[in-house]
Structures are given as structure tokens and as C-alpha cells.
């Protein structure tokens, strides 16, 4: 078993807000992230897949193919978009870094040929990232 990680980047806008809460409650919990005009980040996505090395090609997965899958399933949908307003999964959940990692897992799971999705890591900025490994106890 070997692990292979591919990075991709996207730049998006978002804000944190719970409709069921008052403005004061949203501001107390989310601080400046509750600004309804939104703000943005340069996100870095690291997708790690696990698999066996093909004895002939020497690949776990074809890197070009993996790059194309990340582009098609994630980057083309998230990049230069407002996550709350333009990405369907964030109509019903807040686009925190945690939820973005989970959403990207769901977008990629089962779509990578010959390898198992192992980890989705999303950096909102260099000093903050979330990891998701699929459903765990």
C-alpha cells in the first residue's frame, strides 16, 4: 500500500451565518466571518489516495487522470465562486473548512479508479486546515 497526494487550489468567497439565530448570536459565534457581504480565501486542497503500485506502469493512479478528476469534481465548481450562494451543498450547511473537507470527500469518493480515497485536507490558509478520513466512529 502506498499513499499518493495531489494538490489543487481554488479561490472562493464565503460567510458564516445561521438563519435560525439572531444577528447578535451570529456575530458572537462567528465574529468577522459573519459579515454577510462575504470574504474570501485562497484554499489549498490536498487529496491523498491509497493503493498498490501497478507493476507495469509504476503508478498508483494516473496523475493526469487524478488532476482531471479534481478539476472536474471540485475546482471547476468551487473556484472563483461564492460557496454559500453558488455551491449546492452549502445551501444547507455552513462552508466552514471542516464542512468543505467533508463535501469534497463526498464529491470524490468512489470516483478515483484503482485507488481508495484516504484523506481530504483543506487549507483555508497556511495556519488552518481540516482533515476528513470518511465516516469514522
Amino acid at each position: 500500500m502506498i499513499f499518493l497526494t495531489r494538490k489543487a487550489e481554488f479561490s472562493s468567497a464565503h460567510f458564516y451565518w445561521v438563519d435560525a439565530w439572531t444577528e447578535a448570536e451570529n456575530l458572537r459565534v462567528f465574529g468577522k466571518c459573519a459579515n454577510r457581504n462575504g470574504h474570501g480565501h485562497n484554499y489549498t486542497l490536498e487529496v491523498t489516495v491509497a493503493g498498490e503500485v501497478d507493476p507495469v506502469s509504476g503508478f498508483v493512479v494516473d496523475l493526469k487522470q487524478l488532476k482531471d478528476i479534481l478539476e472536474r469534481e471540485v475546482v471547476s465548481i468551487y473556484d472563483h465562486r461564492h460557496l454559500n450562494l453558488e455551491v449546492p451543498e452549502f445551501r444547507s450547511s455552513i462552508p466552514t473548512t471542516e464542512n468543505i473537507a467533508i463535501a469534497i470527500w463526498k464529491r470524490l469518493d468512489g470516483k478515483i479508479p484503482n485507488a481508495k480515497l484516504h484523506r481530504v485536507r483543506v487549507y483555508e490558509m497556511p495556519d488552518l486546515f481540516a482533515d476528513f478520513y470518511g465516516e469514522q466512529k
Binding site: 499513499f3 458564516y16 445561521v18 459565534v29 455552513i94 484523506r119 478520513y133
Partner: protein
């Protein structure tokens, strides 16, 4: 949904590696340039990793504002721009980054809103240390 959240903090401090159990020659032999009597300093980076269920309403493992505030009070205000050797936690042990990592784990284990998985402390770009207090990380998560 269980997720892992990691946050990095930075502080700058001086220290000197020196043990009272050794004589001067032995200290110089063991600790080398880190035994310089006047000390030296580093820009430290601390990376803490917490796990927990993502709250279905807030979308968070824990509130970053709470964690940043905790780190400000319990890590940065205590360590930044200090001489580590003068701090109570290093009164009886050498201020290596191994011992620093264990102290930082002890500190962040006190954050009440999520489970601390591990701490990772970078002394320089080429030296880093991990401590999980005996916890066995879930397979493949370190």
C-alpha cells in the same frame, strides 16, 4: 461526522540547553552550540490537532475564536518573547523541543471544547517534534 482541525501558532523565544546534572565540559559535549552560555533563539511554530464531531448547526469541530483566545492566554502570552529557561515549566528540565512539546500538549489538552489528538512543534524549518501523550492516532492519520 468526525473531522480533524489543525491550527498553527507562532512565537519567538530564547533558550539554552544545559543540564545541572552535567559539568561544563559534558554540557558542551552533549549540547554543542545549543549550550552557549548566553542562549540563542528560535521562531517556533506550534501546530495543534483536535478531533470531534462537526456540529450540524455551526459546521465546526470547535469555535476557532475560542481556540485562538485559549492559545493567546495559555501559550502566546506565556511563551512569546521570553527566555524559556526562566519559565517554571523548565525549572527542572532542559528546554529541548521534546520537553517543550510535552508542555504544550499539557496546555492544549486543557482546551475544553474538542479532543486534542497531537501537537507538532517546529523549532526550525528542519527540526520538528510530535507528541500525542501515548495516544495512538487512528490508522493513517499522523
Amino acid at each position: 461526522m468526525k473531522a480533524y482541525l489543525s491550527r498553527r501558532y507562532h512565537f519567538s523565544a530564547s533558550h539554552r540547553l544545559h543540564s545541572e546534572a552535567y559539568d561544563d565540559a559534558r554540557n558542551r559535549a552533549v549540547f554543542g552550540k545549543c549550550n552557549n552560555p548566553h542562549g540563542h533563539g528560535h521562531n517556533y511554530t506550534v501546530q495543534v490537532t483536535y478531533s470531534g464531531q462537526v456540529d450540524p448547526v455551526t459546521g465546526m469541530v470547535c469555535n476557532l475564536g475560542d481556540l485562538d483566545s485559549f492559545a493567546r492566554t495559555n501559550l502566546l502570552d506565556r511563551f512569546d518573547h521570553t527566555n524559556l529557561n526562566t519559565l517554571p515549566c523548565f525549572a527542572n528540565c532542559v528546554s529541548t523541543t521534546e520537553n517543550l512539546s510535552m508542555e504544550i500538549h499539557r496546555i492544549f489538552a486543557g482546551f475544553p471544547h474538542a479532543r486534542l489528538e497531537r501537537v507538532h512543534v517546529e523549532e526550525t524549518a528542519n527540526n520538528s517534534f510530535d507528541y500525542a501523550d501515548g495516544a495512538t492516532p487512528a490508522a493513517g492519520t499522523l
